[in-house]
């Protein structure tokens, strides 16, 4: 009814002086800003936390008449500093996406055919609880696995643990940051943190290896990066593609893909042979310099030139640039590191280089995390479980779990059967390589439950779909930040949940209740839980509600000083240039270069990355972001395109070495990429018909990643090991 008010009649009504609540209540959305300008309605601002990606930026959400009209950065929040990226600005596009999951649903057809019936929450939750209970009786609680990403983890991981299963798998480990973190943990005893503790604003020189900051959009880090660019920090950017960051580099090294380790070892070789390392620092903090020096002797710049395609002279020159500016040099550890299967060793090499330059704990390098923390609360201990299968045979797999190890166990029913998957906040079909294996594993399940906001590809394979409300409609766990300082931030609802969607905490609690686990959820509402937590932490909840984030004063100690000495939680208590731990487990104690297969004639290595306006597949259907970047294009070197007779903007199909074909995808003919690889922005080519904007738009890189090189150290899946051919297609018209 409100929609039928014409502009003219509305103006007439509002022209009178008796305009008040009655008119405001019936204001059509398109007049909200106008009404605000006229002073008829007032905006409210609610602080909360973004979850369009996982940087968790502080947001000030502006609402008019109960509608979220704009999202702005929270000036108090260290990840946002009053600004949001394009995705964060477009967050309300998720809230108001007409394709959102609206009610619980139970599958009526075959898996994947998209036939569902609506169910009440009671029915759906009872259905899931009964099935889970039956599986527990027949196979034990560990036959239930959880795949998760983001804040749902805070609700569903405790549920899984209480249920008695250790089997969690987060793609953020084996498919993303895992190899990086493991490499740094083996070297320094800890990872780089998230946000990474890169001190770019104080660097003199910074090195980006495959990190395409600016396209890989992490708010405060991009703010630091651009500040550094503005200040004239010299960036050395290693990338087969002329990324935005490469365009701003002092030196762009267009490396032959899969040879990054050769470059790093050659840099280490030069730093050592030219005596550019920090002797005093190494003597004090590091172990194994002699072994390292001996092991890298063979990796000369001349040798590396043949591997990497980067002139030896440039390798020497860039190494000297780092050496001369040490310790104010940041070797950015990157983020998505699952590339070639030797990724933990590449991360080790980056860590070793950082150590040689004395940059860990020094201005312009990697700053030290705050040592402050909040006291641990008391909670009911979880039951003991059978041996976990989520770590696979990988000695250094992290607690986040190795997704594909659970998948393999599900297929083979070894070492024991897995009969149910709960999938929350992750689109496994898009995040884990080899979709055929994922589908095969799903085929073995008695139950697949999906908890999500949108009908993503994996959601549409589920037996039961439980619609979570968006981040703007719910409480979540307090976000504790351990960057320079200790911070705590709050996600709180800006508007009530739309449709029949529910917060993740409620879904987990209600499932827990039905599984006889109510005592693990000893609170009525999540706000009660948060309030109690704040009390225990000495944090003023009312103030937190108002400010959105609180920084605990005097908790920062970012640099090494005589009074602030670093601790290294490695076996030796020192930085391990030579890793005895790795040696004991049968791995190279100092990274060693091995050659990877290269594409054959007519083939290109498939590399992939990010767009600044998208977070994987999560945002591809968001109307406000889809508008800016509706489908990806395959980047093809201009000279190659000419040779192959492929025109810019024409459509091709990508076919990989195993005969798997992509959707048709537009070609971007460009000078900005090497001739031996092609590039796709990740996350496109959705198979879910319920995503009306994203369905079959662009090519799905993960579909073409049928092969993956497993990192034997930690289980990371190297995904840049597939080769594709381009087959011409008709135009899209």
């Amino acid at each position: 009814m409100t929609k039928s008010i014409s502009r003219r009649s509305f103006l007439k009504i509002s022209g009178t002086t008796t305009v008040g609540l009655t008119v405001a209540a019936t204001l059509p959305d398109k007049f909200l800003l106008w009404a605000e300008e006229q002073g008829m309605i007032k905006a409210t601002y609610t602080p909360t936390l973004c979850e369009i990606c996982f940087w968790k930026c502080g947001v000030m959400a502006k609402t008019l008449n109960g509608r979220v009209v704009k999202l702005e950065g929270n000036p108090n929040h260290p990840g946002a500093r009053g600004k949001l990226c394009g995705r964060g600005n477009g967050g309300a596009g998720l809230l108001y996406d007409p394709d959102r999951l609206k009610t619980p649903m139970i599958r009526t057809g075959e898996r994947g055919d998209g036939k569902y019936r609506k169910a009440s929450w009671d029915e759906a939750l009872n259905y899931v609880a009964e099935k889970l209970t039956r599986i527990k009786q027949q196979h034990g609680p560990e036959a239930v696995a959880l795949f998760t990403h983001g804040t749902p983890t805070d609700h569903f991981l405790p549920l899984l643990s209480a249920f008695g299963s250790p089997n969690v798998g987060m793609p953020s480990f084996a498919q993303c940051r895992g190899p990086r973190d493991v490499g740094l943990e083996l070297t320094f005893g800890e990872g780089s943190g998230s946000p990474e503790r890169v001190d770019l604003i104080n660097s003199k020189v910074a090195v980006l290896i495959g990190s395409h900051l600016g396209e890989n959009m992490h708010n405060s880090q991009v703010q630091d990066y651009t500040e550094a660019i503005g200040k004239g920090v010299k960036f050395i950017v290693v990338d087969p593609r002329y990324s935005i960051a490469a365009g701003k580099a002092h030196a762009w090294l267009p490396i032959r893909p899969a040879t990054d380790l050769a470059l790093l070892l050659a840099w280490i070789n030069v730093i050592i042979s030219e005596g550019l390392y920090d002797r005093e620092y190494l003597q004090k903090y590091a172990d194994g310099f002699g072994e390292l020096a001996a092991a890298v002797k063979e990796y000369t710049p001349e040798w590396a030139e043949k591997e990497t395609d980067i002139p030896a002279a440039q390798i020497v020159e860039t190494a000297r640039l780092m050496g001369k500016n040490a310790p104010n040099v940041c070797i950015h550890p990157g983020r998505h590191a699952a590339w070639y299967g030797d990724d933990a060793q590449r991360s080790r090499a980056m860590g070793i280089l950082t150590a040689l330059l004395g940059s860990w704990g020094r201005p312009g390098g990697m700053y030290l995390a705050t040592t402050a923390s909040f006291p641990k609360g008391e909670s009911k201990p979880f039951p003991d479980t059978k041996a976990a299968l989520n770590l696979g045979p990988y000695p250094f797999a992290g607690a986040e779990g190795v997704t594909q190890a659970i998948r393999t166990a599900t297929i083979e029913a070894k070492p024991y059967p897995v009969k149910a998957w709960i999938v929350t906040g992750t689109n496994l079909m898009k995040s884990v390589p080899n979709q055929k294996e994922t589908l095969e594993a799903i085929g073995k399940l008695d139950l697949l439950v999906a908890v999500d906001v949108m009908p993503f590809d994996t959601v549409m394979l589920a037996d039961v779909i439980l619609p979570e409300c968006s981040y703007l409609e719910r409480h979540d766990a307090l976000a504790v930040g351990k960057g320079k300082s200790l911070t705590v931030s709050l996600r709180q609802p800006v508007v009530p949940p739309k449709f029949d969607s529910k917060p993740g905490w409620w879904i987990a609690k209600e499932l827990g209740k039905r599984l006889g686990l109510a005592e693990y959820f000893p609170w009525e509402t999540y706000e009660d839980k948060i309030k109690k937590q704040c009390q225990g932490w000495g944090v003023n909840y009312e103030e937190l509600k108002k400010l959105g984030t609180i920084t605990i004063p005097d908790t920062d100690n970012p640099y090494i000083t005589p009074a602030n000495q670093p601790t290294f939680k490695t076996a030796s208590g020192k930085i391990e240039l030579y890793s005895k731990e790795l040696k004991e487990k049968g791995f190279d104690p100092v990274p060693r270069y091995t050659r990877h297969p290269v594409p054959g004639p007519g083939e290109f290595r498939l590399v992939y990355g990010r767009s600044g306006v998208h977070t994987f597949s999560r945002t591809t259907n968001n109307p406000e972001l889809n508008e800016l970047f509706p489908e990806n294009a395959v980047w093809l070197n201009a000279a190659k395109a000419k040779e192959m007779g492929i025109a810019d903007g024409s459509y091709v199909v990508l076919e990989n070495q195993d005969g798997v074909k992509s959707n048709k995808v537009r070609v971007k003919v460009t000078e900005r990429i090497r001739q031996d690889c092609v590039y796709l922005v990740h996350g496109f080519g959705s198979t879910s018909k319920e995503l009306h904007k994203a369905y079959r738009k662009g090519a799905d890189d993960q579909q073409l990643i049928t092969r993956y090189a497993v990192d034997p150290i930690c289980g990371g899946t190297g995904m840049r090991v597939n080769f594709v051919r381009l087959k011409k297609e008709g135009s899209n018209a």
């Binding site: 009209v69 704009k70 477009g90």
Partner: protein
């Protein structure tokens, strides 16, 4: 009276599009239409390349062809230097759309009038920065009063060689560009 202007430090732009989305939300720009955009332009042959990232918006010209070509007097140059529009005088004739050499105007089909960047006049009146400037992660866009020698725009113009778009068109733009290419000198 202030003289508002914008300076865009192109090297600090990463084409993240925060400005584009913030502008659309702030000003209810209809789907498919934009008041600002970011252009990427790379020159050269692999691997000898250089990149330009250029934010474009209304130039709030001192010699504005859109104003001169408006038959109804809807488009006007405000005292504070902004080129603005009186919506109730606009008949949607598109003269201004055709006259603008910067492709900065569009017809807002939902509302039935010509539309464009207002330098977020409504925010500036409240002492805030335009939405695109406020959210610019790279501090690539700065905004302020040319009459105030301490304003960020005055400082930027004093410290840099600045250019304007299509100088030869004689439009005297109030949007200035510095550090055109991404690569440091």
């Amino acid at each position: 009276m202030p003289k508002y202007a914008m300076v865009i430090n192109q090297r600090r732009c990463v084409a993240c599009m925060a400005c584009v989305v913030a502008c659309k939300k702030e000003n209810e720009v209809p789907p498919g239409q934009f008041r600002t955009r970011v252009i990427e332009n790379t020159e050269g042959t692999f691997p000898l390349l250089r990149m330009e990232l250029r934010s474009e918006l209304c130039n709030h010209c001192d010699n504005p062809p859109c104003v001169y070509n408006c038959p109804t007097g809807a488009s006007y140059k405000a005292d504070n230097g902004m080129v603005l529009l009186k919506h109730n005088r606009c008949v949607g004739c598109k003269s201004c759309v055709a006259a603008c050499p910067y492709d900065a105007r569009y017809i807002n089909e939902e509302k039935g009038y010509a539309d464009k960047c207002t330098f977020c006049d409504h925010r500036v009146k409240e002492g805030k920065e335009p939405a695109c400037v406020a959210t610019c992660l790279g501090k690539s866009r700065v905004f302020g009063d040319l009459e105030d020698p301490k304003s960020p725009v005055s400082v930027a113009l004093r410290e840099n060689h600045a250019e304007v778009l299509l100088k030869s068109a004689g439009t005297k733009p109030r949007v200035y560009y510095v550090k055109k290419f991404s690569k440091p000198e």
